[in-house]
């Protein structure tokens, strides 16, 4: 049985990382060249880790499924990236950023990790700026900040509504520099199919070349997964269509524990579903809530156009329910509040499943030019999709699956329970608790890659300097490759009648209905049965055209859906186990009189880390108790 040791350093919170760094072992530059590191994924986590490890002189191999590392889904992050610079002089600090994240995560994250993420945030901003990321500036040439949900300071650095794109271009350029120098080798259009574990250590991966269909073996002294989240399990989500949970799931099946899988953020401001053919939901950045006001009509089913509804007949329900934070409450709170209004019959739009996000007042007060400068590209995007201009009529928005706080369990060094296997960025679980605050993902994912992993991985590699290059001809590689090939063969030979997309849609509906914004015992139990049935049907009635030995996008989808069918079940087990509400995990049985999430600190103040126990068996729960030494547990209130 795996014992969980989070390896949190001793000492005062503010000194933990400094003390820990002083004790981490080093690898000298001559030895770094002899050590191979595999990085899977090229978003902000993967690119930052790979370029930094390359700069340090390690021999790095990077993999992504896209045709270019610049396309990873960090590119779609919109609103911004947090840091505790206190450039606004509004009494911000590392401690305050830490506190906001702990509270925002509803006291289900590790204090030490969160503090460290806040601590390195300033370095991240410095680095991106040096790389040429054009954060918004004022006329004096200094950097501007704005505010985000769940906080009362302005600490968000931004580049209009495409901060992720601009940061990723910076990270990609640094990665390109290392590729140019030969420290990093790039393998695009490769999908990780399995992890290779030798003598208990992560030693390589099996990938499928998506162009030729060839199965390749790659070895290394350590493997870093930077493969993002699994929000596409809902089928409709704000994620890129090809984002998937397979790398993490494969690692889980090889022994890495999976933590808090049911903690999924449902983002409150996405463009609502327009038709049955829709394959994704486009996000409208949370930053819009700085200037936009959320409302629904006070009258149920009000047939009037939004602009015809007078002020006193509008219910600005966030401002009404949460006067202290108003429209800038955290995402989980805003999402549930929108669902509550829509479920009560006050929703707007053709389906009644949306609410207004209105810029009328901001345009009047600050002028159209201000709105254009700050949100121009978002307004354009909205208009292209819906055919309506948010300058003229309020946006319509609804919550959508977005970010997974859950992920592979990692210790303070970001190492999973498999020695030599690391998980960074959204792929791990450690910093956002049960709900992530806006603009904290770019911050965490970059901090992991630039300033944390490069230090902690050296401590592990210090023991590997005498290990020669790992051969790919070992029995472990043989059997992993065979398993991958057999599985592909099984998928290809089902020859049923239903497409992978159709199964994915059905899976998504089960997950959204029973393990989405609200959950209850009965629904979750029902979901377990439904998922079993769907899995059986999938393996008996799937249809994939063409062959496995060529570019085959249907096979890619099918392989990911097959993993999602299993991961979905783990999410349900986790949601069932946690009979409390916390952050984004809302159990109907556990709510306050006013309908807010009600935690049960006595029984659930732990990280639920799940061990894979074989196909068809119930996973085994391990608990990492969360100790709060520096913040006091309290009801999370934004009123």
């Amino acid at each position: 049985m795996t014992k969980l040791n989070a390896k949190i350093p001793e000492g005062p919170l503010a000194d933990k990382w400094t003390n820990h760094k002083a004790k981490l072992r080093l690898v000298n530059p001559a030895n770094r060249r002899k050590l191979d590191i595999i990085v899977v994924g090229t978003g902000l986590a993967g690119s930052s880790a790979a370029s930094t490890l390359g700069e340090l002189g390690y021999n790095v191999k990077v993999f992504c499924y896209q045709d270019s590392p610049r396309r990873a889904h960090s590119v779609a992050a919109q609103g911004g990236i947090n840091a505790a610079k206190n450039y606004k002089n509004d009494n911000d600090s590392v401690y305050r950023l830490f506190y906001d994240m702990i509270k925002g995560g509803d006291f289900r994250a590790r204090e030490a990790n969160v503090y460290r993420a806040a601590e390195v945030s300033n370095l991240v901003i410095d680095h991106y700026t040096a790389l040429g990321v054009p954060f918004a500036r004022d006329y004096g040439g200094l950097i501007e900040n704005r505010s985000f949900g769940g906080v009362q300071v302005s600490r968000t650095f931004y580049a209009k509504g495409q901060t992720g794109q601009q940061c990723l271009i910076g990270a990609y350029s640094a990665l390109s520099r290392q590729i140019d120098k030969g420290t990093v080798t790039m393998y695009p259009r490769r999908e990780m199919m399995d992890l290779v574990v030798i003598d208990g250590k992560a030693r390589g991966i099996i990938v499928r070349n998506l162009i030729t269909g060839e199965i390749e073996r790659h070895s290394a002294h350590a493997v870093v997964l930077a493969t993002g989240g699994y929000g596409t399990i809902y089928y409709l989500s704000t994620l890129a269509l090809n984002s998937n949970g397979s790398a993490a799931w494969r690692a889980h099946k090889r022994g890495a524990l999976f933590a808090n899988p049911s903690f999924v953020q449902i983002h409150p401001t996405s463009i609502p579903v327009l038709n049955d053919h829709q394959c994704k939901l486009t996000l409208m950045s949370e930053s819009l809530r700085n200037d936009g006001r959320v409302w629904v009509p006070k009258q149920k089913g009000d047939p009037r156009k939004p602009n015809e509804i007078p002020e006193d007949e509008r219910d600005y329900y966030l401002e009404r329910r949460y006067p202290a934070f108003g429209n800038l409450v955290p995402r989980d709170v805003a999402s549930r509040a929108a669902k509550e209004r829509c479920d009560a019959g006050y929703g707007v739009g053709p389906t009644g499943l949306s609410v207004y996000l209105d810029f009328r007042d901001a345009i009047q007060k600050k002028g159209r030019k201000y709105i254009e400068e700050n949100y121009g590209n978002l307004f354009e995007m909205y208009e292209k999709i819906t055919g309506e201009s948010p300058y003229e009529v309020p946006m319509r928005i609804y919550p959508a699956g977005h970010y997974t706080m859950g992920g592979l369990w990692v210790d303070y060094n970001l190492m999973t329970t498999i020695p030599g296997l690391y998980a960074i960025g959204e792929a791990n679980f450690s910093d956002h608790g049960a709900n992530r605050l806006g603009a904290s993902s770019l911050m965490q994912t970059s901090g992991d890659g630039y300033f944390i992993l490069p230090y902690t991985i050296a401590d592990y590699l210090a023991d590997e300097i005498k290990t020669p290059k790992i051969p790919t001809s070992t029995p472990e590689f043989d059997s992993a490759e065979k398993e991958v090939k057999d599985r592909i063969q099984r998928l290809m030979s089902i020859n049923g009648t239903e497409t992978a997309t159709s199964f994915h849609k059905r899976l998504g509906k089960i997950m959204w209905d029973y393990c989405g914004m609200v959950r209850n015992e009965e629904g979750l139990k029902k979901a377990l049965g439904l998922l079993d049935e769907l899995k059986v049907e999938f393996w008996n009635n799937l249809k994939i055209p063409d062959t496995a030995g060529e570019l085959n996008q249907e096979l890619e989808k099918a392989s990911r859906v097959a993993d999602f069918l299993e991961l979905g079940k783990l999410m349900v087990y986790d949601a069932l186990n946690r009979r409390e509400s916390c952050g984004a995990h809302f159990r109907e049985e556990s709510q306050t009189e006013t309908g807010e999430a009600k935690r049960d600190d006595e029984n659930y103040s732990y990280v639920a880390a799940w061990e894979f126990a074989g196909d068809g068996n119930e996973p085994i729960l391990h608990k990492e108790e969360l100790k709060f030494e520096y913040v006091k547990l309290q009801e999370r209130s934004y009123k």
């Binding site: 896209q66 590119v75 370095l123 410095d126 500036r137 996000l283 055209p545």
Partner: protein, 247 residues
């Protein structure tokens, strides 16, 4: 609405491609162009036929994966729009739509509508960066950058590397792509030290990879989904000449 699709089908880079015709009768005007292709593919798979391969990912116009030549224009007929953002309401009921991959020597076809754009990555690897290691930067506010420069940097860094500029150009020139990166990086005080080397290496790499030369037809600017201005090419030329004069 109904549409007739003439789609370029090509099994792999070695084989010769040809157009095939498909008819769709239940297209919703709200659908994106790619959702329309998704629905065609669902049908083809069910019929046991090979679906149309195309690159796509974010489906919100920011990753740069998608790129289809639609009725003779990269990303179709909508202004400042990627293929994934293009909506079927932009087409007429009953219209015949011709669907092709990017066509450029430097972007060989991989399969159907999928092309190999790794040449763009190679150009960036030849100097499209500011050389600074993680940990070596000073405080972000220690170097003020005029707002105008920051805005120009933002606009040019908005390039998503989709390749529409190359596909639009009769010479298959990559000048707009290279110029956007040069202009982006030229806005900051940091990185000036390596600017001459950068522009020379990137231009040499572009030429080496088989992109054509620029003859100022402005087709790239007209088709760029991110609205990158051809004035960046003037900036590129200035940087290039200045660098060459120093040789």
């Amino acid at each position: 609405m109904k549409v007739k699709l003439r789609i370029w089908r090509q099994k792999n880079s070695q084989s010769k491609g040809k157009f095939e015709v498909y008819e769709l009768n239940d297209v919703a005007p709200d659908m994106s162009f790619l959702e329309m292709l998704d629905s065609l593919n669902q049908r083809l798979v069910k019929e046991g036929k090979s679906p149309v391969a195309f690159d796509h990912d974010c489906r919100e116009g920011i990753c740069g994966s998608c790129g289809i030549y639609i009725n003779g224009r990269p990303h179709g007929n909508d202004h400042r729009t990627t293929t994934c953002e293009l909506r079927m309401r932009r087409f007429k009921d009953g219209e015949t739509i011709t669907v092709e991959p990017w066509r450029a020597a430097a972007f060989p076809v991989v399969k159907d509508l999928v092309v190999d754009r790794s040449a763009f990555d190679k150009i960036i690897q030849a100097g499209g960066y500011i050389s600074v290691n993680a940990g070596a930067a000073q405080d972000a506010n220690s170097i003020p950058v005029p707002k105008h420069n920051a805005d120009v940097a933002f606009d040019t860094a908005s390039c998503i590397g989709c390749g529409a500029c190359v596909a639009a150009c009769k010479n298959a020139s990559a000048m707009l792509f290279v110029a956007a990166k040069i202009t982006h990086l030229a806005q900051f005080p940091q990185g000036r030290v390596e600017a001459p080397e950068r522009v020379k290496r990137m231009v040499a790499k572009m030429d080496e990879l088989g992109f054509g030369s620029c003859t100022n037809t402005r087709a790239c600017e007209a088709e760029c989904p991110k609205g990158i201005s051809i004035s960046t090419i003037a900036k590129l030329n200035r940087e290039y000449i200045t660098a060459k004069l120093k040789d």
